[in-house]
Structure formats: structure tokens, C-alpha cells
């Protein structure tokens, strides 16, 4: 076959697919952030720590309760989501009337504390977490070897992303949620418990982070710092997509994963900066992000 830009097409397809896999993590994480920002107006900087906690809950379950990956996929989001709800009730709800900056400072500080505590307890090199036996091995696609687990990651996260989008944009519950962000007083007047709805929404956003954490555990080490590096990239994804835009975060998540993957082929040294370069370019042209509405 004819090489494209000096790269054989097989290699290029492989890299596109890899980009899509990484993009599914970006999409899942930025989706949670977008939901929280869209409905609570909180810039949730603890998202990375909550992603890490999801992975650690999976590890705890395996280590101390003998419960494997599939249980973790169910239990970890519930546990971390519940902790998120507690956080919202005790601390975050006091900040709704204030400037964004207060929420950002609180959640950022909490993230540092949580990560510090985990690092102190578990060290920085991480804990091993093996692939679930059902998803071990892989398929030879001709142009690349695709591990079954990675295929599962793409499929599952895409499903979760689309389901979330559907619930928020196309159902009655979603309509309440969207109405409550526009005008909470009016929605409350219709007899809907808006504070509870907001609490549950935060819990849901956090669960998405924990879910991504469980999915990441077999690929990366279960490491106290795994979220710290990722969260900055994910914020860039959210900003590019448009703060609070559900569809924007999904599309940009997958899209930037692909762009990053291609950078790793053509100029690997820049692979951890390319997303920020794109962020700068997008903000220059469309300050509200690709899918955002100017307020």
C-alpha cells in the first residue's frame, strides 16, 4: 500500500484506533465534568482524585474482598458517588451563590489533600491490577493487534456517553435538570425538589469519574497520582468542547484522543502538549468553545 505522509496505512489505522481508545477516557471524564458544570456551575477539580479513588476502590475490592473487575464496575461508582454526595451536602452547596473561583479553590484543595493522603499510604509507584480473565487476549485485525480489553473500553464508554446524552437531552428527567439550571426558583415552584436533584447530579458526575477509574485500573497502574496528570488534559478537553456542553465534551473527548494519537506517530515529543496548543487556537477563534454558547 502507499504510505500516507511516510507512514504505512496499517500503522495509521492502528494509531487512529488507539487514539479512539484514549479518547474514550477523555470523553467519559469530560462528560462528568460537563454535567457537573452545566447543572451546578461548579468547576470540579476533584474529578481527577475521584477517578483515582474509583481505581483504588476496585483494587481494595480485589485485595480485601476478593471481588473482581465486574463487581468493581458496579460498586466503585456507587461508593465514590456516595462520597461525592456527602461532599456536595457538606461543603459544595454553601458555594452556589458565590463566584466560580470559590468552588474551584475548594475542589482543587480537596484534590491535593486526597491525592496526598493516598500517596502517603500507598506510595507513588502504584498497585498492580490484572485484566479480567474474560477480556484477556486480543484480536489480530491485520493492521494491528487489538487487545480485547481495549475494544471493551471503547464500546462501553461510548454506550455510557450516549446514554448520558440521551437522558439529559431527550427525557423528561433531563428536561427538569436543564430547566433547573436555567431557573431553579421556577422549577421549584412546580413542586420539584431542586436541591436534591442537584445533589444527585453531582453524585452522578462523580460516579462517571469513578467508572473511568475502574476501567483504567487494568491498563495503568492503580496509582495515587493517576488522576493528577489526566485532569489537566481533561479540563482542556472540556474548554475546547465548550464548558457545560454534553455533546461537545463527548465529541471533543474522542476527537482529541485521535489527534493526540496521531501526534504520537508524527512528532511524539509533542504528544503531551498538542491538546493545549489546540485549546489556545480554539479559544482564539471561538472563546466559548466548539460547542459552547456565548452567555
Amino acid at each position: 500500500m502507499i504510505p500516507i505522509l511516510g507512514i504505512p496505512p496499517q500503522a495509521l489505522f492502528g494509531q487512529l484506533l488507539i487514539g479512539l481508545i484514549n479518547g474514550s477516557f477523555y470523553a467519559l471524564l469530560s462528560l462528568g465534568l460537563a454535567v457537573i458544570f452545566g447543572l451546578l456551575n461548579i468547576i470540579n477539580f476533584t474529578h481527577g482524585a475521584q477517578y483515582m479513588m474509583g481505581a483504588f476502590v476496585a483494587w481494595f475490592l480485589l485485595q480485601y474482598a476478593g471481588l473482581g473487575y465486574w463487581w468493581a464496575l458496579l460498586i466503585a461508582p456507587i461508593v465514590v458517588g456516595a462520597l461525592g454526595i456527602l461532599l456536595e451536602r457538606v461543603m459544595l452547596k454553601r458555594l452556589y451563590g458565590l463566584d466560580h473561583l470559590y468552588g474551584l479553590l475548594l475542589t482543587f484543595g480537596l484534590a491535593l489533600i486526597i491525592q496526598g493522603l493516598f500517596r502517603n499510604q500507598f506510595g507513588s509507584s502504584g498497585q498492580p491490577y490484572t485484566l479480567p480473565a474474560q477480556l484477556a487476549g486480543g484480536q489480530n485485525l491485520g493492521f494491528m493487534f487489538l487487545p480485547n480489553y481495549r475494544a471493551w473500553v471503547i464500546g462501553f464508554s461510548l454506550t455510557i456517553c450516549l446514554a448520558t446524552w440521551f437522558v439529559i437531552e431527550r427525557t423528561r428527567l433531563g428536561a427538569y435538570l436543564r430547566a433547573a439550571t436555567e431557573n431553579p426558583t421556577l422549577v421549584q415552584a412546580f413542586g420539584i425538589n431542586v436541591p436534591r436533584m442537584i445533589t444527585l447530579t453531582y453524585g452522578f458526575g462523580v460516579s462517571l469519574a469513578a467508572l473511568a477509574g475502574v476501567m483504567a485500573a487494568p491498563i495503568y497502574q492503580v496509582n495515587p497520582l493517576m488522576g493528577a496528570d489526566l485532569i489537566i488534559v481533561v479540563f482542556a478537553v472540556v474548554v475546547i468542547g465548550g464548558m457545560g456542553s454534553i455533546l461537545g465534551s463527548i465529541v471533543t473527548g474522542f476527537g482529541l484522543g485521535i489527534i493526540e494519537g496521531l501526534t504520537k506517530v508524527f512528532y511524539p515529543e509533542a504528544s503531551n502538549t498538542v491538546i493545549f496548543v489546540i485549546m489556545v487556537l480554539v479559544l482564539l477563534v471561538k472563546p466559548a468553545g466548539l460547542f459552547g454558547r456565548a452567555q
Binding site: A11, I18, N22, S124, S125, Q127, M144, I219, K264
Partner: protein
């Protein structure tokens, strides 16, 4: 009367002032500078601080009348931050010697600052063989290991058992580049060839893209010229992508016991690599490891921790002999005195600052061979001290007379 009194007072003050052969401000101040919070924190980090403290205690500094103080800082793997700390320590905090400094990028910066200030620098964590090569300094001792020794140990062993075509996955900074260069030289010298290479940013989480490129290269050996969290992630994901099943082999060019612990034996078994210290070598190393682990959250000593311990010990001996902590003189004395400690045995320090001791080729045990946590290595070969490091005349060190 008052006038005379003042003159007398001044004379007394001058007489009491520091002279050349004394310990500056009466305290030997040791600064441990390393990664306290990121991917190298378990293999250096607080463990190195513990090792330095143990060296001071085991030396019996207090009983010998030496006042020693240990401080530490996090350089966050950034040369600018590391340099700023080193300057602050030397200029304002009266630090006499900086030890450890993993991350060759930071170490090369501190190497130059130490030389400019006439202080002392004991390198354990950094790997670049340039520290005793082009960048060698009369104020630096490079203790534990270097990229040349790793290349010589692991590279040689692999090429000679048939691994003659290589692809490198390299951390894109001073250390990774030096390691790649030194291994490539060994591969080419033994008649092998290098089919390709890719450079990844430091602290990279996802290696799948690079592994795919390695697979496409069809090289027999995929050499990982990186360390710590980067190495563990790459090894783990290589297993996922069926690299070994596809007929290729991984060469972890720098692997520490903390990495093996983090990977777990099912993933790490069979890896072959070079180190200069393993805690389970003899009774003395085991005794050290036991005491060390108790003080370091159960983490057993890496060769870097061992190097910090041994180099601080040798430094204190030199300071006591000289009765001075003036950096250039102490390093000179350290080079002139044969070394002897419980962890590395007897050894020497060359004119270029290179500490000489044996290196070992280890293989990671299979899960059923291990008696439990931290029982991970079996010895494959011992590389004698005189062959373990680059010959002194081949490093282009200006301190070495040709």
C-alpha cells in the same frame, strides 16, 4: 580603656573565626534532593532521606563529635526547580553536600552549580554516564550505577543470547537519551542493529501508540530506555498488546525493585536487568534492609537508597579525616581513600568521580519461586568491578590525564 578593650575583643573574634581546616559553622549539613512526589518517589524519595539518616547514625557521628543535619526537598523532576533549591541551599542554608538527585537532567544542573560553589555532590539516583564523562567535576562522586553500566550489563547479555535487532522506547530527556546512546553502542559493537526508536515525554501514562510502532518494526528486542512509573506502565501494556506472544522480547534497561513490586510477579517474571545492589545478597544487606524497611513504610531499599547510604558514610569518613567539610577537598579525599561499606563491599573512586564496584545481572523470579513480597530476584551473572563501568580513558573526562 574602652578603645583597648574593643581591639582585644576584635582580636579574639578574629582568632575564633573559621580557618580552612574546620567544619563550616560547626555543622555538616546534608541536603537530600530528589523526587518526593512523582514517578520516581518510591525508588528515591523519602527512602533516600531514611538511608542518609541511617548512614549518619551507623557512622556514630554524634559519638565522634560531628554535628550532622539532614534536610530534603522535592525537585519535581524540573531542572529549574532543582537548580533553584541547590543555589538556595548552598548560598543561604549552609548546605555542605547534596546527595541523590535522580533525574539526570536535574543532576547535570546541580553538578555544575556544585562545581561553581566549590561544594560536594554525591550522585546516587541519576544515571547519565555523562556525569563522569564530558560533564565530570572535581566536586562530584557518581556512586551507584550509570547508563554505560546498564548498557554493558543488560545490553551485552541480550545481544549475546540472540537479541540482535532492537527498537527503543526512550524517555525524552537527558537520562533516556544517554541510556539509548550507550545501549545502542553495545548493540552495534556486538554486530546487532537498531531498527527504530521513539521518544516519549517523561511521566507518560499510555504507551500503546509507541508499542504499536515497536510491533510494526519487527525488532526482536524492544528496549525500554526509561525508568520508574514509565517503565512499569510500558511493561504492563506490552503484556496487554501481546508483544511477547508475538515473538518480541522486552528489555527493561533500568528496573528497580520497587517497579517489580508495583508490577507484581505475574507481569514482571522473566525480566532481565542490571543492578548494583539487591537487599537479599548476604546477611549484612539483609540486616540493613530489615532496619530500612521498618522506617520506610515497608518499602525495601533500591540500589539508589543503598548508594545514598554508602556514599554518605564514605563522605563522613573523609570529613572526619580532614577535619574539614570544604567540598573540593572532601571529594579529593574521598577519591584518595578506598571505600568499604556493608552494602557494596570494598571499592574505589576513580579520578573522574566514578565509584567502582561489581554489577549484577538479575532475573525476576516466577511467582512460584518467590517466598513472598520483596523476594523477587535471582542472580544470573556477576560483572566484576573492573568490567562493570566504562574504562576511565573512554569517557572524555577532562580530569583524567591521558
Amino acid at each position: 580603656m574602652l578603645h583597648r578593650f574593643l581591639i582585644a575583643l576584635t582580636a579574639v573574634a578574629l582568632a575564633a573565626g573559621p580557618s580552612a581546616a574546620e567544619i563550616s559553622d560547626g555543622i555538616i549539613k546534608i541536603g537530600v534532593l530528589n523526587d518526593q512526589s512523582s514517578l520516581y518517589a518510591d525508588l528515591t524519595g523519602q527512602g533516600s532521606v531514611v538511608a542518609a539518616r541511617m548512614a549518619v547514625e551507623d557512622y556514630g557521628a554524634a559519638a565522634k563529635g560531628l554535628k550532622v543535619e539532614i534536610i530534603f526537598a522535592d525537585h519535581q523532576n524540573k531542572p529549574d526547580i532543582g537548580s533553584a533549591v541547590a543555589r538556595q541551599w548552598y548560598d543561604a542554608d549552609k548546605v555542605d553536600v547534596i546527595v541523590d538527585v535522580p533525574n539526570s537532567g536535574v543532576a547535570l544542573a546541580v553538578n555544575q552549580i556544585t562545581r561553581d560553589k566549590g561544594k560536594a555532590f554525591l550522585v546516587s539516583g541519576a544515571a547519565s554516564s555523562d556525569i563522569t564523562g564530558k560533564a565530570c567535576s572535581p566536586n562530584t562522586v557518581h556512586w551507584t550505577y550509570d547508563t554505560w553500566a546498564l548498557a554493558n550489563g543488560t545490553g551485552n547479555a541480550i545481544v549475546k543470547t540472540g537479541g540482535d535487532s532492537w527498537f527503543f522506547i526512550t524517555a525524552d530527556y537527558a537520562f533516556g537519551l544517554a541510556l539509548e546512546r550507550d545501549v545502542e553502542a553495545v548493540v552495534l559493537k556486538n554486530g546487532g542493529k537498531v531498527l527504530g526508536r521513539v521518544r516519549h515525554p517523561l511521566n507518560n501514562a499510555d504507551f500503546s501508540s509507541f508499542l504499536l510502532q515497536a510491533q510494526a518494526s519487527k525488532a526482536k528486542i524492544v528496549g525500554l530506555a526509561n525508568a520508574g512509573g514509565d517503565t512499569t506502565n510500558a511493561i504492563k501494556q506490552a503484556a496487554e498488546f501481546g508483544l511477547v506472544k508475538g515473538g518480541q522480547n522486552l528489555a527493561g534497561l533500568l528496573v528497580f525493585i520497587t517497579d517489580v513490586h508495583a508490577l507484581g510477579l505475574p507481569t514482571a517474571q522473566g525480566l532481565i536487568f542490571t543492578e548494583t545492589f539487591y537487599w537479599d545478597m548476604n546477611d549484612r544487606t539483609r540486616a540493613f534492609a530489615k532496619k530500612f524497611a521498618e522506617r520506610n513504610r515497608g518499602i525495601h531499599p533500591t540500589m539508589i537508597h543503598a548508594g545514598v547510604y554508602a556514599s554518605v558514610l564514605h563522605y563522613l569518613k573523609a570529613v572526619e579525616a580532614l577535619k574539614s567539610d570544604e567540598g573540593t577537598k572532601v571529594i579529593e579525599k574521598m577519591k584518595a581513600t578506598p571505600t568499604d561499606d556493608v552494602l557494596f563491599g570494598k571499592g574505589t573512586i576513580r579520578a573522574d568521580g566514578r565509584k567502582i564496584h561489581p554489577a549484577y545481572l538479575f532475573e525476576v523470579k516466577k511467582p512460584n519461586e518467590s517466598k513472598g513480597a520483596w523476594d523477587y530476584y535471582k542472580l544470573r551473572a556477576t560483572i566484576p568491578a573492573e568490567q562493570a563501568f566504562r574504562p576511565v580513558d573512554q569517557g572524555d573526562c577532562p580530569l583524567v590525564k591521558k
